[in-house]
Symmetry: C2
Subunit: 486 residues, 2 copies
C-alpha cells in the first residue's frame, strides 16, 4: 500500500478521482507499480484515503479504460503488461491538457425531443442502428446566429478560394481542440480539413500511393473497408482479440499500414490498452513507410471517466495518421473532417498533393471555427453526453432481466453496445427473433471482413441507441427481453 | 440568295437576329447551304432583309462562335465543313430552351466596387491574372437572406446525411439549368454534386479506373494536368489547331479519354466548331471505353450572341462526361461543382462508387438550390455579364493603339483574352517588358504541357481582367501600350 499514499488536495482544481487516477498512472509509468501487481480493492483504498468508494471506482474505471490496469473477475484489479510504457515520457498528453473536458454545468437547459431521425426500418418499430445520431438537441439557433454574423459584407473575402488545407484559423482551433480533448500533438500545419472521412481517405491514397497493403481490424467499419477496396489496396483483415488488433497478426500480415480505432473500436467497443498501443507503434517504427491510421470516430462520447487519449498522443516517431470528423459530434450534413499528417507524410502532401483545392466551403469553415472557438461546441458536447448517457443507461437498464444471458461490452463510450450471448444462441436467431418483435438489431457478422476471428462466434449483436427516444428504447428493450429472455 | 429568304416576324417573341441565326443554322443543317458556300455580306443581307446591319452581324457572330460558319479575311463568310452535322437531329438543344438567357433587365441596379480580390502580385501594380473573379457585385444580402430562411428549425433534416450524389432537389434544379442554358440533356439521376472540380475528377478516376491514357489540349488548364498526373494517368498532350484539339492528333495518341473545353478553351479562348465536335464524338463512338470529358468552366460569360451549346448537347451515344462548377459564376469558396455522367459510367458509379459520402454540406446545397431556383442566379449572372463586358471592352479598347502588333483571340467569352504578337516579339520579352512597367501578364507557355504546338509560337500572352477595377484596367493597358507599342 505504500505506493498508494496519495496526498489528496481540495485546492488544486482537480477532482479527487482525478488525483487518484493521475497518481496511480504516474506510479505505473515510473515502474513503481509493476506489471501484474495487485491493486487494493476500491473499498479498502477508499477507506485508506478517506474518500467515497465511488471516487475510487471512477479513478479505476479510467485506468481500466486506458489499459493501465485490468479487472479479473473475483480476483481484483491488476497492473497490465505494457511494452514500451516506461519510455513514453512526454508522449502522453499534458495532464492539464484535459481540463476542458471537466463536466461543465450547462448554461441553459434545453429540452430534447425524441424523434429518431432515420426513422425505423421498413418493417421495424424500433431500429437500434449503430450509425445514427440524435439531432434533436442541436443548437440550431446558435448555428444560425453564428452564420448570420459570418455573412456580413465585411467578410466578403471568405467567398474567395482559400488554402487547400483549409483556413489556418480553423486549423489552429482544431489543433487546440484535439490537443486538449484527445492529447493529439500537432501543429496547425499538419492538419488538412476535408469534406468528410471518405474524401480524406481518398486524399490519403494520393499521399500513401496506390500499392499499399492495409491491415484492418476484424470486425471493422465496413465503409472504410469498401473505400480501401475501391482503391485496390490489398486488405488483410486481422482478428481482434480482447485488446484490439493482434500485433502478432499484424506482423504476419506483412501490411504497410494498419487502420485502427483504438479509443472505441467499431463495432466491438474495445478500448485498446496502452500495451497493445505500444506494440503497434513499435511495429510501425521498425520500418520506413509503415503507418497507423487512427480513426477516432466517436471519442467525444465517453460516459465513464475521462476520454481515453488518442494513439497519436503516444506517437514519438511520426507514425500515426489521425483522422476525425464532426459528423457525429455536430451533424453528418456539415461534411467537415480533419486529418493530422505526421511530418514525413506532410512532406509528401506538400510536394505532391497540395494543389488539390479544399473541399470545404470557407463560409462553413468560419462558422465551425466560431462554434468551437466561442465554446458552443463544448457546451453542445456536454449536453449530448448527458442525453446519450441517459439513453445508454436505459439500454443497460433494459438488459437487466437478461444479464445472465448476455455479456455486454463497449458500454463505456460511443453510441452503441455489443451483446454477446452466453448460451450459444446464434446471431441469426437473435436478429430474427428481434425482427419478429418489430425490433431491428445488427448481427456482428455484418461488420466482418473475411473470416470472423474465432473469439467472435456468431453469437453477438450490436445495438445503437443514438436516434431512438427514451420511450422507444424502453419499449424496444422490453420487446427484446420478451423474445430473448425466453 | 434564295436560301436566305427569311420570313422575319415581329410577333413570335424572338429577336430579329435570333430568327436570322436560326434560319441559317437550319439551312446548313438541312444541307441547303453546303460546305464552303459563301454567305452574303452582312451589308447586303441587311439590305435584302431590311434590317440593320448590326442585327445581321449578331446573327453571324453567333453562327461563327458555334462553328457553323467561318470568316476569311478580305473574302467573307463561308459555311464550315461539319462531319456528321446533318445527322444530329434533336441532338441540338431545343430552340426555346435558350429563353432564360435573354438579357433580363436588372430589377435593381447595384454599384460595384473596384477592389481586385486577389490583390496585385508582389511587385506588380496590376495583375492581369486569368484565374480570378470579381466578387464586388455578389449579392451577399440575398445569400444571407436565403441562408436565414434555410436555417429554421423546421428544416432540421438538412443537418442529417444526405444522398451521396447530392440532394435530389438540387440535382433537379441543376439539370434544368444546364438544359436551358447549355443544352445539356440529362436526368437528375446522372448528376453528381461534389466539392469542386478537383474532387469530381478524383471521383471520376474511381469510375474510369486507373489505367487510363488521357489526351489533353495543349496548351491547357494546368491544374487539370497536375491532377491527371497525380493519378498516374498517361497523358498525351495534343496540339491545338485553330479549331481546338486536333482529331488526327487524338487518333494517333491512342488515348482512351480526351479532356476538352469546347465552349471557350483555356487559355486560347478557341470555340470548337461543330465540325470538330462531331469528329471528336465520332472518335469516341468508335470504341467502347472511349470518353470525352467536357470541362465547361466559364461558359456563363459570353459577350456576343447566345451561349455556344455544350458538346454534351450533341452527344447521342453517351460519350460525354460534362463537368462544371459554380466557382466562377458564384464564388470559389462555396466549393460546389457537378458532373453529368453518361449512362454507361453512371452504371459503374452506382455499382462501385455510390458509397462515397457526398462532399457538399446539405445546408449549402439547399441555399444554392434556392439561389438558382428563385431566379437570383440568373439575375446575378446577367449583372456579372454586364460588369465583365464593360471590363472586357476596356481591355479591347486599351489594345486599340496596338492593333497592328497583336492578334486578339478568345475575346467573345470568358474572363481573359489571348494576345499573339504579329511581329515575332517573344513571350519572354512581352512578359518582361510588362513587368518592368509594373504589370503582370502571363506567357502562353505557362499553360503548355509537353512541347508547344507549332502554331503557338512563343509569342503570345494571356490577360485576365475579372478582378481588376475599370480604372486599374485603363491604367494597366496604358502602361502595356507604353512598353509594347514602342
Amino acid at each position: 500500500m505504500n505506493d498508494l499514499t496519495i496526498e489528496l488536495r481540495q485546492d488544486n482544481g482537480k477532482h479527487l478521482y482525478e488525483q487518484i487516477y493521475l497518481h496511480i498512472r504516474r506510479e505505473i509509468r515510473k515502474g513503481k507499480l509493476l506489471q501484474g501487481e495487485k491493486l487494493p480493492s476500491t473499498r479498502s483504498l477508499a477507506e485508506f484515503l478517506q474518500v467515497s468508494r465511488s471516487t475510487v471506482e471512477l479513478a479505476y474505471d479510467q485506468l481500466l479504460s486506458e489499459g493501465y490496469i485490468e479487472a479479473k473477475p473475483y480476483k481484483g484489479y491488476f497492473v497490465c503488461p505494457a511494452e514500451g510504457l516506461l519510455d513514453m515520457g512526454e508522449g502522453m498528453p499534458a495532464e492539464d491538457g484535459w481540463k476542458s473536458w471537466k463536466s461543465v454545468e450547462m448554461e441553459k437547459k434545453e429540452g430534447y425531443g425524441t424523434y429518431g431521425m432515420y426513422g425505423s426500418g421498413k418493417a421495424y418499430d424500433y431500429d437500434f442502428s449503430p450509425n445514427t445520431i440524435d439531432m434533436s438537441a442541436f443548437p440550431y439557433a446558435t448555428w444560425k446566429k453564428i452564420t448570420k454574423g459570418i455573412l456580413v459584407d465585411a467578410n466578403s473575402e471568405i467567398f474567395l478560394s482559400g488554402s487547400p488545407k483549409g483556413d489556418f484559423i480553423l486549423r489552429e482551433t482544431i489543433a487546440r481542440y484535439l490537443h486538449t480533448s484527445r492529447g493529439v500533438n500537432c501543429r496547425p500545419e499538419q492538419i488538412i480539413i476535408g469534406a468528410g472521412n471518405d474524401y480524406l481517405l481518398m486524399l490519403l491514397e494520393k499521399i500513401l500511393g496506390r500499392h499499399v497493403k492495409i491491415a484492418m481490424e476484424n470486425p471493422t467499419y465496413r465503409r472504410a473497408y469498401r473505400i480501401f477496396d475501391s482503391f485496390a489496396y490489398r486488405i488483410s483483415p486481422i482478428a481482434m482479440d480482447g485488446s484490439g488488433m493482434s500485433a502478432k497478426g499484424l506482423r504476419e500480415s506483412e501490411a504497410d499500414v494498419a487502420y485502427v480505432m483504438p479509443s472505441h473500436q467499431y463495432p466491438t467497443g474495445i478500448v485498446m490498452p496502452i500495451g497493445r498501443r505500444m506494440e503497434l507503434l513499435k511495429w510501425a517504427g521498425e520500418k520506413e513507410g509503415r503507418y497507423l491510421i487512427e480513426d477516432d470516430y466517436d471519442s467525444e462520447f465517453r460516459f465513464k471517466g475521462k476520454p481515453v487519449p488518442s494513439l497519436q498522443a503516444s506517437d514519438r516517431e511520426g507514425k500515426v495518421i489521425y483522422i476525425g470528423t464532426f459528423s457525429k459530434s455536430i451533424a453528418p450534413a456539415i461534411r467537415i473532417g480533419y486529418m493530422v499528417l505526421p511530418p514525413p507524410l506532410l512532406k509528401i502532401y506538400e510536394e505532391k498533393c497540395s494543389f488539390y483545392s479544399t473541399t470545404v466551403s470557407r463560409i462553413d469553415q468560419r462558422i465551425l471555427n466560431e462554434f468551437i472557438g466561442k465554446g458552443y461546441f463544448e457546451r453542445h458536447l456536454n449536453r449530448m453526453r448527458r442525453i446519450y448517457r441517459e439513453k445508454h443507461d436505459m439500454v443497460l437498464n433494459g438488459l437487466k432481466g437478461m444479464e445472465k444471458d448476455f455479456a455486454v461490452s463497449g458500454e463505456n463510450a460511443g453510441l452503441h453496445i455489443l451483446l454477446q450471448n452466453r448460451r450459444g444462441r446464434s446471431e441469426e436467431n437473435l436478429v430474427g427473433a428481434a425482427a419478429e418483435a418489430g425490433v431491428r438489431v445488427y448481427g456482428l457478422s455484418e461488420f466482418c471482413v473475411g473470416e470472423m476471428a474465432p473469439q467472435w462466434k456468431r453469437d453477438a449483436v450490436v445495438l445503437g441507441y443514438a436516434s431512438l427516444g427514451k420511450e422507444q428504447i424502453a419499449e424496444g428493450m422490453e420487446r427484446l427481453e420478451s423474445v430473448w429472455g425466453r
